[in-house]
């Protein structure tokens, strides 16, 4: 019955197409075609029980938030959204973005690099404080900092760009 498959935003799936450390997008796992039986227990909300392919009947609750569908099912929570252009580009094998993004929402407390710096994999780039805990954003690979998009003291959302990295040239 599906005409357009939603994508699973969270939790990350088994490897395919990592967009960034913070926004893995994978194709929602195929459910071998067979439809599952959904029973609603409320006339006005999407909640009830569902029979899984392994025979278990488990509770679920679904909620829409903007362009996302959030589904709780038997203790796990999933977030889905319609495919976005960037995710489609990823799946069709185009090169990954060199944006280094914040893994958490918070405040930038230290910027360790400046434009044109050469960095190595594992080097500290930016420190973001969130919920009173420091999150150190490290470089995922060797490269050169093309641009630093934040300053110390800036508030950032999860997934917001901190640093743009380009591959090292020459040598």
């Amino acid at each position: 019955m599906t005409t357009r498959r939603l994508q699973q935003l969270h939790p990350p799936g088994s490897g395919e197409g990592n967009l960034s450390p913070s926004a893995e997008m994978i194709e929602a796992p195929a459910s071998d075609g067979a439809e599952i039986e959904v029973k609603l227990s409320s006339p006005s909300r999407w909640e009830g029980s569902v029979q899984l392919h392994d025979g278990r009947t488990v509770p679920f609750l679904a909620h829409r938030y903007g362009q996302q569908v959030h589904v709780w099912i038997s203790g796990e929570s999933y977030v889905f959204s319609p495919p976005t252009p960037i995710a489609r580009a990823r799946r069709s094998g185009q090169q990954a973005s060199d944006d280094i993004v914040s893994p958490v929402p918070g405040v930038v407390i230290t910027v360790h690099v400046a434009a044109d710096d050469t960095v190595t994999a594992g080097q500290d780039l930016v420190i973001v404080e969130s919920m009173k805990t420091e999150q150190i954003v490290k470089s995922p690979r060797d490269g050169v900092v093309q641009r630093v998009s934040v300053e110390e003291g800036d508030r950032v959302d999860k997934g917001m760009r901190l640093v743009v990295l380009v591959p090292e040239v020459g040598e």
Binding site: M1, T2, T3, L6, Q8, H10, P11, P12, G13, S14, P21, S22, A28, P29, A30, S31, D32, E35, E37, V38, L40, S41, S42, P43, S44, E47, G48, V50, L52, H53, D54, P59, F60, L61, A62, H63, R64, Y65, Q67, V69, H70, W72, I73, G75, E76, S77, Y78, F80, V104, P105, G106, V107, I109, T110, D124, M131, K132, T133, E134, Q135
Partner: protein, 503 residues
């Protein structure tokens, strides 16, 4: 003895709610304070009066001593309950409360200062005959003598903040070249969380268990202990799951540690409720004093459940001058209690903090199930404050019974909109190592399966199908892709479902 007529609660979240509930049950009028992001928070609604602190960052709100004391005095409160975190262990705050004619519900400023200094508190422990872990003097940014200190202690070692707790400003350092970056990062984090950037080095004891004893002391010096809490399930040195009794202690070790806890409290001149933390070497059965926390602990409910005693009530009574009216022999625990902390964090992404709007928050209920919560459905969870949303506590006649009750409760707790550690908690409680009782602080780190995304596509496949049908029934009709429909705009959920599945 006359209790206070009004108390101001200088905190937020679940502990503010927890304290307000007891004060109200005691017939005491209550006042709350709140920062801008909390204007819809449950503690604000619950209190008889609530006062805006104006601002968002902790420093200008829940850590602003002057603002808070002025509000307490203005509203006619006789006492201030600090909860935990924020100003709970700030000696200047408790001193200024007293100077402003307010009773601080906690120990004296002198005791807070002594215990807040981890070096001096260790000295007090040594004097009381309590075993301690070897550690260094204080280090502050700009100083360089950490090399000598680390040589004396050896690697791996722990960098710890002089002030506070909750794992903030704490780092394990394996190699000498990582020492200074760790010191600087820990110092910054500690300065931000506690307003005190001093850190020190301590010998790291691997495979340790973290076991603490609750004590209660009144103004006459009468000090009793309320048994132990096992807190070894930790991530980033922060507790996640706690239980009592501890599966690690036999009666003889329990008695020895309890005697040490009481000796420590007496050595520090402690009054009110406090907690003496120990590391227990799982291999040898040796134990070491870590620190004494001069506040109510996050995990106090497990003690309350097995002893049927209200810790906040006793904090308040002791602060008002009442004496403890029961003896050590009256402390007879019943059954077993277990607590899971529900954090807004992603267990599949290194427990990174998560924010968002709580679209659904449906706590479980039933016999032996207690939820201490500071949030409500619809609330926005921001990055300003701690990521703990609530604590789920269960009681059972024995450990197995409370484990079963906890699992059922965790599995019937729908939360949407904010990523939480609930799936992790289910796996941790289900894990054979946890169920055996034979676990230590390395439990999460060594069992990778606890934090790997689910492998089976059965659940995610079902979730995807539900999402597809929901999207088609709700979204398509009103949204056409962009410009999402508000929830009110959405058509009934039955549309798009096969008729046979209608309720």
């Amino acid at each position: 003895m006359i209790l206070f007529s009004k108390v101001l609660v200088a905190n937020r979240g679940e502990i503010a709610v927890r304290v307000l509930q007891t004060l109200q049950a005691m017939g005491i009028a209550t006042a709350a304070i709140y920062a801008d992001p909390d204007d819809n928070a449950p503690h604000v609604a619950l209190a008889d009066e609530a006062f805006a602190l104006e601002g968002s960052a902790a420093e200008e709100t829940y850590l602003d001593r002057r603002k808070i004391i002025a509000l307490a005095v203005q509203c006619g409160a006789e006492a201030v309950h600090p909860g935990y975190g924020f100003l709970a262990e700030n000696p200047a705050f408790s001193k200024e409360c007293v100077e402003s004619g307010l009773v601080f519900i906690g120990p004296s400023p002198e005791t807070i200062e002594l215990l807040g200094d981890k070096i001096r508190s260790k000295d007090a422990a040594v004097q009381a005959g309590v075993p301690v872990v070897p550690s260094s003097p204080m280090w502050a940014p700009g100083e360089s003598q950490a090399d000598d200190m680390s040589a004396e202690i050896g690697f791996p070692l722990l960098v710890k903040a002089a002030a506070g707790g909750g794992g903030r400003g704490m780092r394990v350092v394996e190699r000498v070249q990582d020492l200074y970056p760790a010191l600087e990062s820990a110092s910054r984090e500690a300065a931000s969380a506690f307003g005190d950037g001093r850190v020190f080095l301590e010998q790291y004891i691997p495979a340790a268990r973290h076991v603490e004893f609750q004590v209660l002391a009144d103004s006459s010096g009468n000090t009793i202990h309320l048994l132990e809490r096992e807190c070894s399930v930790q991530r980033r040195y922060q507790k996640v799951i706690e239980e009592t009794p501890s599966p690690a202690l036999d009666q003889s070790l329990r008695n020895k540690m309890a005697a040490s806890a009481v000796a420590m409290a007496k050595s520090a001149g402690y009054t009110n409720a406090g907690t003496v933390e120990f590391l227990v070497d799982a291999q040898t059965g040796d134990y070491y004093f870590l620190e004494m926390n001069a506040r109510i602990q996050v995990e106090h409910p497990v003690t309350e459940e097995t002893l049927k005693l209200d810790m906040v009530e006793w904090q308040t009574r002791i602060a008002s001058g009442e004496l403890i009216d029961f003896s050590q022999d009256d402390i007879q625990p019943q059954g077993h209690a277990l607590e899971c902390r529900i954090y807004a964090e992603d267990p599949y992404d290194n427990f990174a903090p998560a924010t968002g709007q709580l679209l659904a928050w449906r706590p479980p209920s039933g016999m032996g199930i207690r939820l201490d919560s500071g949030v409500a459905e619809g609330q926005e969870i921001t990055a300003y404050y701690d990521s703990m949303l609530a604590k789920l506590i269960v009681w059972g006649t024995d450990r197995q019974a409370s484990i079963g009750r906890m699992l059922r409760a965790l599995e019937s707790f729908p939360v949407l909109g904010v990523t939480t550690n609930l799936p992790f908690l289910i796996r941790a409680i289900n894990h054979p190592e946890f169920q055996s009782g034979d676990y230590d602080t390395g439990f999460i780190g060594k069992n990778q399966e606890l934090t790997s995304p689910p492998e089976s596509a059965i659940l995610s496949g079902a979730a995807a199908q539900i999402a597809e049908r929901f999207w088609q029934s709700a979204g398509r009709a009103s949204g056409k892709g962009r410009g999402a429909a508000t929830l009110q705009d959405m058509p009934g959920p039955w549309q798009g479902l096969p008729k046979s599945t209608l309720p």
